[in-house]
Symmetry: C2
Subunit: 325 residues, 2 copies
């Protein structure tokens, strides 16, 4: 049995959930995978972490050698891991950096990469694909869209299919807020509730102004072969929404793209549209295809364990040498 050694960058909620899930599911996967290194800004550089690292990591205190952020590329380069799992937080202002530097360094030094970070994928898609080709390494990023719920990768089950457009609810926080508003709650109260439940960030702008859904739309579009970017998209959120305006319809923050157009904005949906009934913090993606017409998938779009499942999906894709279908 071939052995795979993983280098994890970023040991917050997702990194810890993945470490736990990998240990839990190892026997089901039929491969020998182990985490050989963890790099985390607060927790340091941890070599050959044992199971106790999960308990130790909770407080965020230093667990290994203290590292400066500038050292990280060199640590990646010198690592003997086979696969780099990049779980750092989205940085939209710096257009996916430093995550893109981590990923490109990993590929250039002969490692496959998995990321759950939308930034490097949405802002550097062409460069990542070019590096992937040039160094013959696999780049996977399922966790960037709808966590582990099958989304753009559903086409891996549909060989030969052509997708002409998609429409979806790609942000759970705004969907949760809209669901509460239809029950009579004000936008501000609903946002506060979402924050209390841990759905929304302390700075909720990424969610409620549509940027999170826009980055996901870009990633799905790129997988389907369409070239959209934040610059050519209309992006509107739900900050100033008045749901009373749309009588008999249900407003959802809709992400849409086809070859020519891409947008994220509130759209009033007919009640006969299944998307109108996707509530709470659920996500949904409807793709329009040549052989199956419309196919829709509904499931969770966030959460540590849910995102860790996406990393397992990417990991097994790499283990199988990129053969899905």
């Amino acid at each position: 049995m071939r052995r795979y050694r993983l280098l994890i960058i970023g040991f917050g909620n997702v990194g810890q959930a993945f470490f736990r899930l990998l240990n839990l599911k190892r026997d089901l996967l039929g491969v020998d995978v182990s985490v050989s290194e963890i790099i985390d800004r607060r927790r340091g550089y941890i070599i050959n972490p044992g199971p106790s690292v999960l308990e130790d990591a909770r407080g965020g205190k230093l667990l290994g050698r203290k590292i400066g952020i500038d050292e990280i590329p060199r640590l990646i380069e010198e690592s003997s891991a086979d696969i780099v799992c990049e779980f750092t937080d989205l940085n939209i202002r710096d257009r996916g950096e430093p995550a893109f530097t981590y990923l490109s360094t990993a590929i250039k030094s002969g490692k496959h990469v998995i990321t759950t970070n939308k930034g490097p994928v949405a802002f550097h898609y062409d460069e990542l694909m070019e590096l992937s080709r040039r160094f013959n390494k696999i780049v996977r990023f399922k966790g960037t869209v709808m966590a582990g719920t099958p989304s753009f990768n559903v086409v891996d089950l549909l060989p030969g299919i052509k997708v002409s457009r998609f429409m979806g609810i790609l942000n759970g926080t705004t969907n949760f807020i809209l669901t509460r508003m239809y029950e009579g709650m004000s936008f501000n109260d609903a946002l506060r509730l979402a924050q209390e439940r841990g759905y929304a960030e302390a700075d909720p702008s990424l969610d409620i102004d549509g940027w999170d859904a826009a980055l996901k739309s870009i990633i799905i579009s790129r997988v389907f072969g369409w070239r959209h970017s934040l610059e050519n998209m209309e992006v509107r959120g739900i900050r100033d929404i008045n749901i009373e305006t749309f009588k008999d319809k249900v407003v959802k923050l809709i992400a849409y793209a086809d070859k020519d157009t891409a947008y994220v904005k509130p759209i009033p949906l007919e009640r006969s549209d299944i998307l109108a009934h996707v509530n709470e913090n659920l996500n949904a993606l409807r793709i329009s295809t040549d052989t199956l017409g419309d196919v829709m998938i509904i499931g969770p779009g966030a959460g540590p364990i849910e995102t860790a499942q996406a990393v397992l999906t990417d990991l097994m894709y790499i283990v199988n040498n990129g053969v899905v279908f």
Copy 2:
């Protein structure tokens, strides 16, 4: 590039749609696949069919050597094809025969098999899996449940996941009839309309008495590792349904199974349940999992092209030597 030769058994709507789709998508698949033989009770035994076979096949007249049904196993045995694609019609009274004989003969003579016929899979699952192991040949049957729409095979995208139960709408004809009944149409008028549109069979009992959904439930259950059969299931259809009984709810013909229980019967759903809004002849499957909670897929559940897409999915699985994830 490795060459694959296919033997098609049954050249009706699905067989013809698959032949057309294979020609259309061949270049996208990146493999050299050709149909070397077609066996059809009315159209005869056709060797190396060209594209014109589609036009010729329409009327159902004899296109090759006339064959008796008893000859078919021998023709399968002597064929040099790599993969047998079995597209004959469901025969519930004979518990999946003669299709099971065709499939077992194919496996025993060294061929992988694909079937879109629920009968042999639902009634002979253990035997097919045992033959698959013994002769090291792959058995695939995606088209038996929800045509090409990802259904039980969505777990191919979710390595390590555990499914605890499923709930779905697995029969499009009854869903179409119920949708019309909620618009005020009588059961009989709705059934007649379904027949006119080609959704229901001339003998609609398989659909409206729940047998079609029950066989699909058995197949999904077996894939998930649960041992259900028609004998231990409660199966009720919609023939005598009175939708007025369930105020404020929406009745759907629901297929459910977990490890211990399996049934098909009309269930009144809350309007907050997304399944209550899956209308027309759409199908839906909701699986409950350990890492993702509930995931639902909605799409077409029947149709020649839709089923042909499922056969492409199975074909590419076999071409990749059974590696999906």
